[in-house]
Each structure stands twice: as structure tokens, then as C-alpha cells.
Amino acid sequence: MNRSALTIGSTFAVAWVGCATPQELVDARSTYQRVSSGPTAQLNPTGLAAAKEALDRAEDARDGEFRSGVFYTRPVSKTPDLAYIAMRKAQIAEVEANATLAANEKARLNKELEQKALARKEQADAESRGRLDAERRAADAAAKLADIASVKQEARGTVLTLAGSIVFASGQYALRKDALPKLDKVAAALKDLGGNTFLIEGHTDSKGSDQFNQQLSVKRADSVRDYLVHHGISSEQIKAVGLGKSRPIADNETAEGRANNRRVEIVVQSNAS
């Protein structure tokens, strides 16, 4: 083989190698294949069509250049650049499709958040209405109770005080008959208070032994509780306790003070939060 023949052979060998499909086109085909077989086909058909069109242009350029014998060497060949552009279009279509999915998910989550916020507001409004109702009922009941006996607002709740001399005979724990109408009104007012709880406290003066006073206060508180339960107050709502002479509200040295200390207190404890 002479030198000239070798030169010509080498030239055509280089040309043949140059005619092989450029890597950019191989990558573009593979990227398009991957993207078109995924969710992008459904989510972003327009973007995928643009990628296909760009890929077709790259394929056409490659075929044309192959037929005309142009080497796939920049800057002569357009195929690598067109393939690069086609690959990018496929990638863009895929990202746009994924962005659509993300946007849908964002919308779904925001809708769920709005629904939760609405539900919370409705619950808060209902609770507020419940509190207002409870306060109104308490005010109405307090007004009714104020007609019956002394009513005070304390930290532990609304306290209704019934004078012992009115409700009980001296040294007795049975309810006086003439006190019953008053207790009926008390029962009616307490029923209006609905879900509140009631604590009946029996108190005595300091006359007599501690044991006697304690037992008397317990029995008197029980008598009032039993009467109220009998007249419609749930036994689960009401408790009775005897406190004897431990919590005087007046001077036990005077007759008037002792009379004030002999009492039954009904503490209305609100359950509204």
C-alpha cells in the first residue's frame, strides 16, 4: 500500500467515524423515551410534543448530514446542538409536569388547611355560644336565687346562703315545712343552670361539741341535697359536705352572729370553660 492510498483511507475512516450518531442525539433519544413513558405524557402533552418536534428536527439534521457526508464536528454539524435542545425540551416538559403535580398537591393541602381552619372557627364559635348561654343561664338563675336568699359571687363560684333558722328547727336536720317552697324555687333555679355542679355545705355556730356540730352540719347538708335531688337535680351534679363550726362568717359571741353562722351554702360551680 503506497502513502497516497493510506492517506485517502484514513480520511474516509475519519469521515465514517464522524458520521456515527453523536452522543447528544443518543442522550436526547434516551431522555425523550424516559420522559414520554412517564406521567409527563398525560400531564404535559404540549411540552412533550415540543420535545418530540425538536427531536425530529435533530434526527432530520442527522439524516441530512449523513446523506450529504457532512462530518459531525462542530461548528459544521447542527445535529449535536439540535439534539441538545431536544433533550432540554424533554427535561423541561418533565419538570413542568412534576410542577403541576406539586401545584395540585399544594392546592389540596391548602384546601384541607382551609377546611380545618373553618372547622376550628365553627367549633370556637359553638364554644363561645355555649359559654354565653351558660353565662346567661347563670345570670338568670342568680337573679332568681337572689329573690330567694343571699347570693354572692366568689372565686369558687356563685354562693347561695340559706339561713339555718329558716330551713331547720333548732338542733334538727329535718327540713321545716315552711322552708319547702323556698327550696322548690332553689331547685327550679338550679335546674336552669344545666350542666353546672352544686356543692351543699352545712355550717353551724360554735355552741355545742365539735362532734355534734359536725354531725349536724353533715345531716343538714344531706337533707338539702336529698330534697333537691328529689326535685329534679341529678345526684351526679350535687354533693353535700358538713363543715361544722369551722367556717364562721360572723361573731359567735353574739346571738345575731351565731344565727348567721348557722347556715346552708349552695355553691354553684360552673363547668363552662
Binding site: 439540535l82 419538570v95 406539586a102
Partner: protein
């Protein structure tokens, strides 16, 4: 004889390469606008998008250099590539922003449940 053939082939290639003509300034401006849009979308702050933004910038620079040379057609191609790279950077940034929103909404929802 053979030397003439080889020389002719090289000449033909050279003629093919020597497509002259500067790229229209509007084409460069369009590619630069695409880069600007990607930057506005936050591509320069998103690691997934940054490489494409950088490619786009480099391609515009190359296109400008080529535009003033004999390779005008190649310059046009570089601008097209720059446009696609910039667009990819932009959509990646937009998706990144949406992903962040989804994550934030998910966390808020988790907090209220």
C-alpha cells in the same frame, strides 16, 4: 492527484464552516431575558437549577464571541441552547418553590392535627 483530492475535501469543509453573519441583537437579548427570568424565579439560589443557569450564561458569552467571528450559525445555535438551559433553570426554580410550599403546607397541616 491524491494530494489535490485531500486538499479539496479540506477546502469544502472550510467553506462549510465559514458561514458568516452576526446574530441579531434581539436574539441575544431574548436569551439574556430568559436568563433574567430564571434568576427572578430564584434559579441562582436553587442547587438543582444553578448549573443550567451557569451554562446559559456561558452559552450567551460564547454566542457573542462567535457572532463577531465567521461562525454566525453556530452563534445562533448557542443562543437557542442558552434559551433552553435558562428555561430549564427557571422551571426547576419554580418547581422548587412549589415543593417548598407543599412541605410548608404539610407541616402546617400536621401542626393543626
Amino acid at each position: 492527484m491524491y494530494r489535490r483530492l485531500v486538499a479539496g475535501l479540506v477546502l469544502a469543509i472550510s467553506v462549510g464552516c465559514a458561514t458568516t453573519g452576526a446574530v441579531a441583537p434581539e436574539r441575544i437579548q431574548a436569551a439574556e431575558s430568559a436568563i433574567q427570568e430564571a434568576e427572578t424565579a430564584g434559579a441562582s439560589k436553587l442547587p438543582e437549577a444553578t448549573p443550567y443557569l451557569q451554562l446559559a450564561r456561558e452559552e450567551v458569552d460564547q454566542a457573542k464571541e462567535l457572532s463577531s467571528s465567521q461562525y454566525g450559525r453556530r452563534s445562533e445555535m448557542m443562543l437557542q441552547r442558552a434559551g433552553e438551559d435558562a428555561k430549564l433553570a427557571r422551571v426547576l426554580a419554580q418547581k422548587g418553590s412549589l415543593d417548598a410550599d407543599v412541605k410548608q403546607a404539610g407541616e402546617r397541616l400536621k401542626a393543626v392535627q
